[in-house]
């Protein structure tokens, strides 16, 4: 752009600064990648940027402009991959929650007895959340603020966690209502919501003894629940 007439040197608008390329961004020019690989890379970057933006600013305040700047893609590219902000967020949420679920299930499956499985799964989940406050906020707080589709997606996705509770049915004589698993998940989710909103995400693993107590109670009774509580509290790391 030529400088305006009569403008003094240094007066002209600085040329738009090129956004710095992300480490995972594909360099411009010839790179020998198939179009699908480029698209996949762009999509992954957009989803990560959306998760970061919502985790930082909250869903309402998060802007597509920030997401595309951080992802290093054009607005056009964003809308080639997603219909709108909500659609992009819902997909980002689904991916983040699926990762949390797989971390939980993997730890769960590595044990034999249900109570050990549950403890391992819960511990893995709480540590994963403590290590990634952004994902914690997205998956347990912001998803509730992101509109009816997001809430419906959340309700469906959370059923995945009911599995770790429902597996306990095999180990109990108690005549439990069919909704016990999903009710436990709702209770866990509400507790996590409050702790995360209160800025206690880093301390979530400290809740393991109490959460184990509550989770075990309907399935294995008060004595086993109390043992889990004491066991956890004895081991509870002091400052960790």
């Amino acid at each position: 752009m030529p400088p305006r007439k009569g403008a003094r040197p240094g007066d002209e608008k600085p040329a738009r600064r090129r956004a710095r390329r992300r480490p995972d961004q594909i360099p411009g020019g010839r790179h020998g990648l198939a179009p699908e690989e480029v698209a996949e890379s762009q999509r992954g970057r957009i989803l990560r940027a959306m998760t970061e933006a919502v985790g930082r600013d909250g869903y309402q305040a998060a802007r597509v402009a920030d997401v595309i700047a951080h992802a290093g893609v054009s607005r056009k590219t964003f809308y080639e991959h997603f219909e709108d902000k909500e659609h992009c967020f819902v997909v980002a949420y689904e991916q983040a929650l699926a990762r949390l679920l797989s971390v939980t299930i993997e730890a769960f499956e590595a044990q034999d007895e249900w109570v050990d499985q549950l403890r391992a799964g819960l511990t893995a989940l709480l540590h994963a959340l403590a290590q990634d406050p952004t994902v914690a906020r997205v998956c347990f707080v912001e998803v509730l603020a992101a509109g009816p589709t997001a809430v419906a997606t959340r309700n469906e996705a959370m059923r995945g966690f009911a599995y770790v509770y429902d597996a306990g049915r095999l180990d109990t004589d108690a005549d439990l209502p069919g909704f016990t698993g999903i009710s436990m998940v709702g209770g866990l989710s509400e507790i996590l919501y409050r702790e995360i909103v209160a800025g206690q995400t880093a301390d979530l693993p400290k809740l393991t003894p109490e959460l184990m107590y509550m989770s075990v109670l309907p399935f294995l009774g008060a004595d086993t629940a109390a043992r889990e509580l004491e066991r956890g509290r004895r081991r509870r790391p002091a400052g960790d």
Binding site: N155, I182, S183, G187, L188, E190, E210, M214
Partner: protein, 209 residues
């Protein structure tokens, strides 16, 4: 709930004091808010739709409320107060900690069962109504959880555990009712109370140690 909502006000001089008229108009608006939100969702609820349902003028509306959000929050607050009053009354009539929890849950669920539109507004649409509405929802959950923590403390004698368990109990119930309320199937909700208490609270009373 909002029992003045159906009173018809004829135009012209009717000898009803001004504040009574305002109260009736307000009740009509709040009821209209619940119905409109239940039908269209919060986002699609417009002042025009509210006024058509309430049979009030735009001028009357803006004398009572700044905007849609303020009207929604007023409606939500009134329901929350009303529900908590029912819950606390039922709770107080209970005999022993387990019975108090069950009666409280039954009153809570029974109200939603009777008022599907209001239930939809307060359980489903409240999430879509902005940060202030979500903060009110969190405060209502806190209040319910604080009430239930007391009998749990009696049963288990551990404050931190009782507070978390109460929150878990309320969160669990909210998870269970969202689907049926969203689908407009609220008939059997009150009966959940007994099953929830039998599975999640009663085992506490059997503690041997």
């Amino acid at each position: 709930m909002w029992d003045q909502a159906n009173i018809k006000l004829t135009g012209g001089p009717h000898g009803i004091p001004r504040h009574v008229v305002s109260g009736i108009q307000r009740d009509r608006l709040l009821r209209a808010m619940a119905r409109t939100v239940a039908e269209f969702g919060y986002q699609e609820t417009t002042v025009r739709r509210l006024l058509a349902r309430a049979g009030l003028s735009r001028r009357t509306y803006y004398e009572l409320f700044e905007d849609k959000e303020e009207c929604f929050l007023a409606a939500y607050d009134e329901v929350a107060e009303h529900v908590m009053a029912l819950v606390e009354e039922a709770f107080a009539a209970g005999d022993g900690p387990e019975d108090r929890i069950e009666r409280a849950l039954r009153a809570y669920l029974g109200f939603w069962a009777q008022e599907p539109d209001i239930a939809r507004m307060c359980v489903v649409e409240v999430l879509a109504a902005g940060p202030a509405a979500r903060a009110r929802r969190a405060a209502a959950t806190d209040r319910f959880a604080e009430l239930l923590a007391e009998p749990l403390l009696e049963l288990r004698g551990d404050r931190r555990l009782s507070e978390l368990s109460a929150r878990g109990l309320v969160g669990g119930v909210q998870e269970l009712i969202y689907g049926p309320i969203d689908a407009g199937q609220t008939e059997g909700l009150a009966d959940l109370a007994e099953a929830v208490v039998a599975s999640q609270v009663a085992p506490l009373a059997l503690l041997e140690t």
